[in-house]
Symmetry: C2
Subunit: 126 residues, 2 copies
Amino acid sequence: MKTAEAPTVDVFSATSPSRAALELVANKWAMLLMPALRDGPMRNNELLRRVGGISQKMLTQTLRELERNGLVLRTDHHSVPPHVEYALSDVGRPLGEAFVAVGRWAEAHHRDLADARRAFDGQERG
Amino acid sequence: MKTAEAPTVDVFSATSPSRAALELVANKWAMLLMPALRDGPMRNNELLRRVGGISQKMLTQTLRELERNGLVLRTDHHSVPPHVEYALSDVGRPLGEAFVAVGRWAEAHHRDLADARRAFDGQERG
């Protein structure tokens, strides 16, 4: 008799709930917002300045989805003028660290990528 | 007199070439394929089995873009029957490691995310 099995949590399995968790954060805005929050809580306008190219609509939408899934904590200080801050949660923090590594990789290697593209496209034409 | 400045490589800058490098890999298939290749070279059909839910078309397209940018090396052994393998390059390897960390995070915390969503959606209704 087989004992009851926990559902698979292998991210390589298309139907695993861990795959859904991966898909939630597999986009550039989450990959930039999480590292942006790494050094401490930030307000909406600070994030808008920090993450170049993000629109207010996309920022609102991404923050809300991250908050909804418990990766980001939203704190409303209920003050006048309004003071709302966003911060990484304990669950979100290690993901923020992994995305910091991705950002550093991009900064360290973008020239290697450009060189590779040139070589590849040259071969294709040759 | 200002000295010539190297172009910014800050991934938070929308126009930085490092941002383009980040965007290239900010998708779930790259985030699964790179870790899949971490334990050694794999063939097309092995990758198709390993990365659940990927279509042949998407696999071909993603592998080609990763190869073009020098993250993945394609080796054709020019044998009969054909034997083509894909492997991480030295440039791709550290990114593969970062994405392994993302996958492990998803496997470790998908339940926390589900709990947070339930709480959030309950508050919304309440």
